[in-house]
Amino acid sequence: MMTVTVLGISGSPHRHGNTETLLDSFLDGARSAGATVEKVVLKDLDYSACRGCNACHKDGECIVKDDALPLFEKMMAADCVAVASPIYSMGITAQLKGFIDRGQFLWARRFVTKTLEFSPEHLARHKGIFISTAGQNRDNVFDGAYPSLTALFHDAGFEYYDNIVANNMDEHKGIKNHPAALADAFAKGQKIVAVIEKLNGQ
């Protein structure tokens, strides 16, 4: 029986804050359901912003050799990826946006060199989940984040499966005081493993 692999990517520059805690809860849930879990913290990696040089439009390869590229490989080897970022200024952090922008070479493979294509079955079996918290209580506070996550998941071969988001952190005084967010994330972590196992015929 193949073990389900779940990769967590934490895009917060602030260690062990609300968003990373929510991600941890999701990953704990997945682990408790039998998945192999790994967490990567972008703050610990060394990668630069996409230069917009479009070199990848020629051969699908990024010419900037740093920690971003192995992380894309690791991500694409996982069954499920949970990408986490707090909302700063109504969007994802510059740190996570910096990583997502570096995925341009995958977009180039799909649409320019046409050397990368994901079947509907592949997309269905690979789940992308966005995890976020925001200080503000506005309902639309996450809206500006979703399109860039859509781009990341689709270019890396993941179905954009779910959002695990909690707003109003300022009023709750942190995720630990939120009435349901951590338990919900844990349950969703458990559930995603069962969903993927079922899709894989186990």
Partner: protein
């Protein structure tokens, strides 16, 4: 009096489409002897990312010492503040987002510490401009960038009605904007209109 124009070029690619758009707007203002223009390519500005430490909520300043030490004061002094960025992956480019995230010190000053960001007499006498280019031809390609752009301006006391936008889609390769049918004329008109509007407000 001198009108101070501060322009951030947010693309990691120098002299590409979004920066060209910015250059056209600046060129249309440059002939005016009352105008002093400073253009800042973010690739050279040494602005690191916000660490989310929230120290500015108590200290009223950022604990990081970098390019923002200079641009913090220039942002307060400027009369017209422009930001240009390409759209990457349906959002503003990471270097431009890094600048916006570092505006947290102004947000803390305004909303947490409830201190003035600019002198009261300058309220309504500052204008913001967002310029963007996108390779995609989708009309909604700019939508996700706009809420962050609004944050950038709101925290420095430039309200929605005082933000202008010029966003050109379907330009990807370097130089593509040069052959766009309306971009240059629109950018030129925008620059002239901004100056006229600001002069009207300063005289009022």
């Amino acid at each position: 009096m001198t009108i101070k124009v501060l322009a951030f070029a947010g693309s990691p690619r120098r002299h590409g489409n979004s920066e060209t758009l910015l250059d056209w707007v600046l060129a249309s203002m440059a002939g005016d002897t009352d105008v002093a223009i400073e253009k800042v390519p973010l690739t050279e500005a040494n602005i690191t990312i916000c660490r989310g430490c929230n120290a500015c909520e108590k200290l009223n300043k950022c604990i990081q010492r970098d390019g923002m030490d200079i641009y913090h004061d220039k942002i307060i002094d400027a009369d017209i503040i422009l930001l240009s960025s390409p759209i990457y992956c349906m959002g503003i480019a990471a270097p431009a987002k890094a600048l916006i995230d570092r505006m947290q010190v102004f947000r803390s000053r305004k909303y947490v510490l409830k201190l003035p960001v600019i002198p009261p007499e300058r309220r309504g006498k500052r204008l913001g401009v967002f310029l963007a280019s996108a390779g995609q031809d989708w009309p909604h390609v700019f939508d996700a960038a706009i809420p962050s752009v609004k944050c950038f301006y709101h925290v420095i006391d430039i309200k929605d009605a005082d933000i202008s936008y010029l966003m050109i889609n379907h330009v990807d390769e370097k130089g593509a904007i040069e052959i766009h049918p309306t971009a240059k004329a629109d950018a030129t008109a925008l620059g002239k209109n901004l100056l006229a509007e600001l002069k009207r407000r300063l005289a009022a």
